[in-house]
């Protein structure tokens, strides 16, 4: 029987990690992740899990310890935010290139400078090409569910890639919401027993990790890694189908909301998607055909499926809680634009950047964007392809 509780996002994810009971956790505290790992280390101290906690002196070290522990043959977790993820950057590529199924919740927070501890997607966007799988979560329930599913995806024998679970700092990590917990036993059965490929500690079968690969072989390894990414969406869907059987909750590569017959649409990640859905309902009540697409599997990006889901729209706005400085548009916009490029008939696409450093994303922001999309759909005139919203001019 599911247990209904009112908990914070951090508490929910920490509980998911407790239920999985991993072998090793190497983590370093950083706001707003701190309270998640503090709770998890409490589980370790109380003997609720058999996890070995490694206290490290930085995130570069935490990810390095995770790489070692995972290669050794353990089921390994860590968690971070913001500067912590940035400091891990070098080792992120080693974890994915070595195909180590490490699971890491990322509590999304802005990057310094200027120093800011609030919700923003710049941290995870900076790691989007690191070879990690990224699952994004609208609320505490999704963060909890994604964390449990992440183990099955990461550890699938056809995949063996590390997974990040993204949730919005403070907005989700520190807000109390109603969520449904699965039973410990259900989670244990769902994730199953961990089996590492080529564990270093299997002394009967000695192996070497981390060799120098020269130009005569490097591209073959990279091509192999790229090919693995193409298998991820199917595994994500299979795992989601199994998860639905035990939870009753349905997950896909992305979520669409009133999108099928929509004429205008919004693409938006994480917690702001919920606020947008409520505004879309208001517009629908006024007879305006508005819809939404919320990416869930953002890396590898399911561009074919996403393009198919959006191509019928007349006007579409991608709202991003991160910019990509010096680039043409913001991160998610570029992926959506690439998804739509092959189609002759496609929506007019605009880009808004919102909510940086925890700036509130309010219903009125969604209203402004939807009203602009109505105008674009009618007239075809675009006044600005890319702009910041909710900023003082």
């Amino acid at each position: 029987m599911a247990k209904i509780v009112a908990v914070t996002g951090n508490e929910a994810v920490a509980n998911a990690l407790r239920q999985v009971n991993p072998d090793v956790c190497a983590a370093y505290p950083i706001t707003p992740q701190t309270d998640m790992m503090q709770r998890f280390s409490g589980f370790v101290s109380d003997g609720k899990v058999k996890t070995e906690i490694i206290l490290v002196e930085s995130e570069h070290s935490s990810m390095s310890a995770c790489v070692g522990a995972s290669a050794a043959g353990g089921r390994v977790i860590t968690a971070t935010s913001s500067q912590g993820l940035a400091l891990m950057n070098e080792i992120l590529y080693i974890a994915s290139g070595t195909r180590l199924p490490i699971v890491m919740p990322v509590v999304n927070r802005a990057l310094s400078a200027p120093l800011n501890i609030h919700g923003d997607h710049s941290d995870a966007m900076g790691a989007r090409d690191s070879g990690w799988i990224q699952l994004w979560s609208e609320n505490a329930q999704e963060a909890y569910d994604n964390t449990i599913q992440a183990f099955r995806i990461a550890e699938h024998m056809d995949i063996r890639l590390p997974v990040m679970i993204c949730l919005d700092g403070f907005i989700i990590s520190h807000s109390i919401e109603r969520i449904e917990y699965l039973e410990d036993e259900q989670v244990q059965n769902f994730v199953g027993e961990f089996k590492q490929l080529y564990p270093l500690l299997d002394l009967a079968h000695p192996v070497s990790y981390g060799p120098l690969i020269l130009p005569d072989y490097y591209m073959e390894f990279r091509k192999a890694q790229a090919e693995v990414n193409t298998k991820v969406p199917e595994v994500v869907l299979d795992v989601a189908a199994d998860f639905e059987k035990i939870s009753g909750r349905k997950y896909g590569l992305f979520e669409t909301y009133r999108l099928e017959d929509a004429e205008i649409g919004i693409v938006i990640l994480n917690s702001a998607a919920g606020t947008t859905k409520d505004v879309i309902d208001e517009f629908r009540n006024k007879g305006i055909k508005a819809g939404l697409l919320k990416p869930r599997l953002y890396r590898p990006f399911p561009y074919v499926e996403t393009g198919e889901a959006l191509k019928h729209l007349k006007a579409l706005c991608v709202l991003d809680r991160a910019d990509s400085f010096g680039s043409s548009f913001s991160p998610v916009y570029m992926d959506i634009a690439s998804s739509l490029y092959p189609y002759n008939d496609k929506p007019i696409l605009i880009n808004k950047i919102y909510g940086l450093g925890g700036r509130d994303y309010l219903p009125e922001h969604a209203e402004i964007v939807l009203n602009e999309l109505i105008d674009i759909a009618e007239t075809g005139n675009v006044k600005s392809y890319k702009e910041y919203i909710g900023v003082r001019e």
Binding site: I4, A6, N139, I176, S271, G274, T275, L362
Partner: protein, 191 residues
């Protein structure tokens, strides 16, 4: 959205305002309801003004932004009335619950509340000092909010306070908080 109740709390760091919002959310879980409780995070200093929010609804709560138009505004510290506009954005039929020893009529005047809005007072700090021995007005405020909103029964709320405080505090403190909550529920005055 009519079946969603939105509450805004105004307090100062160290008064247990955030805890009150959390306990209320937990207590409102019953009957399959959806709940949210979240503070507005800033530099966390004792004495600094802070806001916290609750949403309670029969359907899924998807809105993830501060409460802009509260039906209930709970003011845990009356000294905030001079520095912060606690009526901002409040609905036309909003209820204000103020921790003060003053008369509801006097507070109504100070708030400049609309005739359609209700004003309640509760001397939560005095109740807290009498029952807990410290000026921690959150428990009586919780009782008062519960009475005004009718979200949960007093018995149910007391059970939740016992559960929430039981993890951290001694029996004496728990009993004091239970009594303070009950008195908040019973002594809140409308004016």
């Amino acid at each position: 959205m009519a079946d969603t109740l939105e509450i805004r709390w105004h307090g100062r760091g160290g008064q247990g305002t955030v805890t009150a919002a959390k306990v209320l959310a937990d207590a409102c879980l019953s009957g399959g309801r959806h709940v949210q409780a979240f503070p507005e995070y800033g530099p966390e200093r004792a004495g600094a003004p802070l806001r916290a929010y609750n949403r309670v609804s029969s359907h899924e709560l998807r809105m993830h932004c501060p409460v802009l138009h509260p039906q209930v505004v709970s003011i845990v510290d009356a000294t905030l009335l001079d520095s912060i506009n606690v009526t901002e954005g409040a609905k036309e039929d909003a209820a204000f619950i103020v921790n003060t020893s003053k008369d509801p009529q006097e507070i109504r005047k100070k708030l400049n509340a609309l005739p359609t809005q209700k004003v309640y007072t509760i001397d939560a700090t005095r109740i807290a000092i009498e029952n807990i021995g410290r000026a921690l007005p959150n428990a009586p405020m919780l009782g008062a909010v519960c009475k005004v909103t009718g979200l949960v029964t007093l018995e149910h709320l007391l059970e939740d306070v016992r559960k929430s405080f039981g993890k951290k505090f001694s029996q004496k403190i728990i009993d004091g908080n239970l009594e303070a909550t009950r008195r908040g529920y019973e002594e809140v005055k409308e004016g």
